[in-house]
């Protein structure tokens, strides 16, 4: 049985989409890009916002499932929060008003000059639950997971700095042998 007959029997059994040459690839890519740019111009602000919010959710899930312990001092919580606010609002102060927090307080959280209080995160959970309702499924406790994962990343990325001093202060005076 030839491959084409197989294709007709079940169009989903397989796709061989590999290019035979670079020339083929470049020419098709260029035509596709032109068509995509035309379609992109037709996107509404609402559609763009939904895509950004879905992107944020997927990035947050990725960070929770595969946390990165690097030395770059990224504050993932504030980075994700900044992306969240900027995807929805034209001004961050409007978001501050919507969740009834002081804009200065919000700015300090976003710039890593202040830790978010529990009430702040709870308000964020409620806000994002409402925002994501029409976008995709969203587990609002993800903000807490990001916050605590970020803490773990911070601590583990600086292990070499704190471990020598802390080790001196820890001893095991009794050990029950199993």
């Amino acid at each position: 049985m030839t491959e084409d007959k197989n294709l007709m029997m079940d169009v989903e059994y397989g796709i061989d989409s590999r290019y035979k040459s670079d020339l083929e690839s470049v020419s098709e890519a260029s035509a596709l890009m032109e068509a995509r740019l035309r379609r992109m111009k037709l996107l509404s602000n609402d559609q763009i916002t939904k895509a950004k919010l879905l992107q944020l959710k997927l990035k947050m899930e990725e960070f929770i499932n595969h946390p990165v312990y690097d030395n770059h001092n990224h504050n993932h919580f504030s980075n994700f929060l900044t992306f969240y606010i900027d995807s929805i609002y034209s001004k961050r102060s409007i978001f501050a008003k919507d969740i009834n927090v002081d804009p200065v307080n919000l700015s300090q959280v976003l710039n890593n000059h202040r830790e978010p209080k529990q009430e702040f995160i709870l308000k964020l959970m409620i806000h994002s639950e409402r925002v994501y309702k029409d976008v995709c499924s969203f587990d609002n406790k993800i903000w807490y997971q990001i916050y605590f994962n970020n803490k773990i990343c911070e601590i583990m990325s600086k292990q070499e700095q704190w471990q020598p001093e802390i080790e001196k202060q820890v001893r095991i005076s009794q050990l029950t042998k199993v």
């Binding site: 007709m8 059994y13 890519a29 596709l32 895509a51």
Partner: protein
């Protein structure tokens, strides 16, 4: 994401993960239709029912960040999941949704998943996955890509 047992209608959660080098020994042309060893240098993913070790399908991809696009190079289901007698349905849909999520995560509102298709099967992908056809290239972008992800994620 879930596949459906075509006999019982039962839905099974799936895992999609990178193919390990040792897996390639089991990826025969007889069961997976193509020579997957040729894809060893590419990003290749396998689909399994959670808790099972049986590979139900494979996909290889190429990331093209300068075009905000992920191109599906090769995709297949295993032999027993092909045709009207297939054991599980939705394997291909789960793969496309998985790659769509990857594209949205990387490229946001500019995300695109593409594949090339012969004209006789292009219509199927346009109808089933709301893909656009440009020349020989099928693609899915915002807003359809969001609906596809939500459909396969929430079912």
């Amino acid at each position: 994401m879930k596949v459906i047992d075509t006999l019982t209608g039962e839905k099974h959660l799936v895992d999609i993960s990178p193919v390990d080098m040792v897996d390639f020994k089991t990826l025969t042309k007889d069961r997976y239709f193509f020579d997957w060893n040729l894809e060893k240098k590419q990003e290749v993913f396998k689909l399994l029912i959670k808790g099972s070790k049986d590979i139900l399908g494979l996909v290889s991809i190429e990331r093209i960040p300068q075009e905000w696009r992920i191109h599906i190079r090769l995709l297949t289901v295993s032999k027993e999941n092909k045709g009207s007698e297939k054991k599980y349905d939705r394997i291909v849909g789960c793969f496309i949704a998985f790659i769509a999520k990857m594209a949205i995560r990387e490229f946001g509102e500019l995300a695109c998943v593409s594949l090339r298709s012969k004209s006789e099967i292009a219509q199927h992908y346009m109808d089933k996955y709301a893909m656009h056809l440009t020349g020989m290239m099928l693609s899915i972008e915002v807003p359809e890509i969001i609906d596809l992800i939500n459909f396969y994620d929430n079912d």
